[in-house]
Symmetry: C2
Subunit: 514 residues, 2 copies
């Protein structure tokens, strides 16, 4: 069937979609969500069909992605035929029905994901099935492998390549900004690609961006790492694992992440990592609740690593409260810099030197933690950080006091005399996001006390910063409904936590950070 192209000024954000009039669809023998083969000159695309009741016959509505693929212009004629259902859909259905997928079948599915041949409905069914039926180690391996194939890979021409990854979930975790320069200061290569925040107040890329640009090209990364051994860049700009981004688009609204392991593995492998320490924070309001859960996840990481010839060790870390005293891109960059200047809080130094120390020991050093600590104390880590900032186009002379948060703030008073008994990470995240993070880099929260510290009635426990007055008000509004901090003399003083007299909706926030 010949149809006239009507270019729609819109993108589907994933699948290749064309829109056809109901009568034309009937004539063609297709219905909504069937696939059609669209041909324009020498180009073609397999597209997913939407049916319009309003458009006139003879017209094919073309989304942005399809226009780009075909190079067709408004008003030109394209030919449209029924396309075969992609074979990968049969494998998606096998997974829906609980079968294990062979590597060959997984390859077909991931291939069709990257080619945008699967609709959101089909992808969601696949991701949901992976979550419900579970993913075997064989499937994780095959998913990782095909996700690696689908993206770019950097060969730095050297070994070892060290890396550090956190599964996330604890606010204020600026450890990467300290571990990376420590490791590079010892002469090792650590090309760190990191993500922006998805559901948190700041990702490592957001934090680093307060110090230097992070949108660095493939070639520049190679050059920087070659020169100084390290970088801290945004992974999104270098197309490391395009399939992963397409899966995250589906996982996020569903609050499930069955592809966590392949996602991380494919990104590490793409950077050529040989030795990786994976940080698994554990705590009631963290992503992983118990050490037993952390052990299971760690075993999977190590097993998976061994299949990709990658040494992996995991660090199960304290995740019951924020890391350090600051949450939000600028505030966290400042605290990281202070730590490199030797003035950081104990917990950040302890966490960073432990993680760097594990990496040092993995590549044959002894007393890794001590070695890491020395590199902070003798200023070499700071020196390396300045090199990284400069190489990425930032100002290496930046001092902690140059990093200034938003001008609007609100001090949250303690409700009574006592000690901080616990934090609710998720409530802190909500408040920080209401204040404008991660987009407003100066927004965030500064804590004046941590768990176990004394607070006094009506004296501030923490300060909320915002760049915009309106957003500060949003954050204050959130504060009234949430309970980010519990104050008391000791746990158990107040045994009653909540009285429930009618059914309540469960609120479970999902942390998706990669």
């Amino acid at each position: 069937m010949q149809l006239r192209a009507d270019i729609l000024s819109i993108e589907a954000g994933g699948p290749l979609i064309v829109v056809i009039n109901r009568d034309d669809a009937a004539e063609l023998g297709v219905i909504s969500s069937d696939r059609v083969f669209v041909r324009y000159r020498d180009e073609h695309a397999i597209c997913i069909l939407n049916i319009s009741t309003e458009d006139e016959p003879g017209i094919l509505g073309i989304y942005g992605e399809v226009k780009e693929k075909l190079g067709v212009n408004e008003g030109e004629m394209v030919s449209v035929e029924i396309a075969r259902r992609p074979e990968s859909l049969d494998y998606v259905r096998e997974k829906i029905n609980g079968q294990r997928l062979t590597p060959w079948k997984i390859q077909r599915i991931v291939g069709d994901v990257v080619e945008r041949h699967l609709s959101d409905i089909e992808l969601a069914a696949f991701v949901t099935s992976l979550h419900i039926h579970g993913v075997s180690m064989e499937e994780v391996e095959a998913l990782s492998r095909t996700m690696i194939w689908s993206g770019k890979q950097i060969d730095f021409g050297r070994s070892p390549i060290l890396d550090k990854h956190s599964i996330g979930g604890v606010p204020g975790d600026k450890t990467t900004l300290i571990v990376t320069p420590i490791v590079a200061a010892a002469g090792y290569s650590i090309p760190k690609s990191s993500s922006r925040a998805i559901t948190s107040p700041a990702g490592t890329a957001d934090r680093m961006e307060a110090l230097a640009p992070v949108d660095i090209s493939f070639e520049e990364i190679k050059k920087i790492v070659n020169d100084i051994g390290a970088c801290i860049v945004w992974g999104g700009s270098i197309d490391l694992a395009p399939a992963d981004d397409l899966f995250i688009r589906i996982e996020y609204p569903l609050s499930i992440d069955p592809l966590l392991l392949p996602s991380i593995m494919s990104k590490k492998k793409a950077m050529g990592s040989t030795h990786v320490v994976v940080d698994i924070p554990v705590g009631v309001s963290a992503k992983i609740k118990t050490i037993a859960e952390a052990e299971q996840l760690a075993s999977d990481f190590i097993e998976l690593g061994s299949r990709f010839d990658m040494n992996i060790e995991c660090a199960v870390t304290e995740g019951s409260q924020p890391i350090g005293y600051n949450i939000g891109p600028i505030l966290e960059a400042r605290e990281a810099l202070e730590t490199l200047y030797g003035r950081g809080p104990h917990e950040i130094i302890d966490k960073a030197t432990n993680l760097a120390g594990i990496l040092f020991e993995m590549v044959g050093n002894e007393e890794g933690k001590k070695m890491a600590l020395e590199l902070i104390q003798n200023g070499k880590a700071l020196e390396k950080m300045k090199q990284i900032i400069e190489a990425q186009g930032g100002d290496p002379s930046v001092k902690p006091e140059d990093l200034v948060p938003g001008e609007f703030y609100y001090d949250m008073p303690a409700p009574k005399d006592g000690r901080i008994l616990w934090f609710n990470n998720r409530d802190l995240v909500r408040i920080a996001r209401a204040a404008g993070t991660p987009n407003d880099k100066g927004a965030g929260i500064q804590l004046y006390a941590k768990t176990g510290d004394k607070v006094s009635f009506d004296k501030p426990m923490f300060r909320v910063f915002a760049e915009k007055e309106e957003k500060l008000e949003n954050a204050i509004k959130q504060l009234k409904n949430l309970r980010p901090v519990e104050v008391g003399e000791k746990v158990g003083e107040d045994m009653m936590k909540k009285r429930i007299g009618k059914p309540t909706a469960p609120t479970r926030e999902f942390i998706l950070e990669r």
Copy 2:
């Protein structure tokens, strides 16, 4: 945030979607697939967000459905805020995680489906979870009830209201066109709403449309049934169960139908049915393969009926080959009319009188089948059918010979002397659809022999009809690759069915007919 409306000439076919520039989204603190609250004057809508990298800031792209809901015009200002995640998403997540849903939670989900607050991704995850975890009878009941609430209901002000439903899956099943007039000829009310074909060559609505219009309004249906006791209309025109149509949109591409029971129940209840016979065809290439499976489904139907004060009986019927000799809207309407004229094949008369007979016995008659047969033989069923055709705006004097299939045809010769050993329903369906059914009403297949009948080498076994030469060629092309009919002396003559030397993709066609 105030944004200028850019009306997109496009519909999403379900969810309410708006498109926003990436920077505006970051400022608002939302990411793709989050929900926003869009307000225009006194109207508002909770919409699902798509993010565009190409659109300029300050603009809100608005899909057709959202424009309709808000009544906003191009260039007008709308306000956009972050919306709370719908509560129903927490329940969708509960189902993903294998929990049983309470009626209250199901009500929230179906409500948000009808309000278009859930995205395709979320709906697909829900439907997939229902399929994998199964749907308990309590959930089926609650789903049915809320799907009934979401649509219209007809009160005919009389009782009993009889109905007949087939779960479908066997081509050529024109039984409804015969059962309906038989039942009404006995003085009972049988307001039949039926579907168009989704994956088959003809639905009852398509068949009936060869005789009379089926797109009949709510008020007209009431009047017709009041006057003559019966109608055969298209359910899609009367909005009986809007939630169901939205679920079918998701089930179809996934080839799963966990909502089969609620779908049927809600439609029957909407018509006020009190006594329903459900036809469950059984056969290797039918939807239900074994009598044991049919028994399970029948028990569920009966149990569900009892919860809605509806008498249900099920008929497990022969489904291993097409019903009668004709497939395709016009060909089937012709065969049905011939049957009412007393010239139908035994199997159609047997099936129709059995089903009508069960209904007669359910409402207190004895020897129902005999009673049904008499109504065919004495011409009363034909007389009633003419009344139905006339009431719906068709020509009551139509004769079978007036119903002429497409002018192009191809006779498929028998490959050798022998008997028809079996049919493959699904291959027949593919061929009929390639020939143009259900859209081309004159397309289809006429069988010259059925299972057990003798065929002679090179003499035609069946004829494929098409309205367009090009489509006939498509059908012939399909014929070469498929194996709709097996010919031999007896089963077992040829023990080898297929030799497999390399992995093959499973092809399992899915039958979705309601």
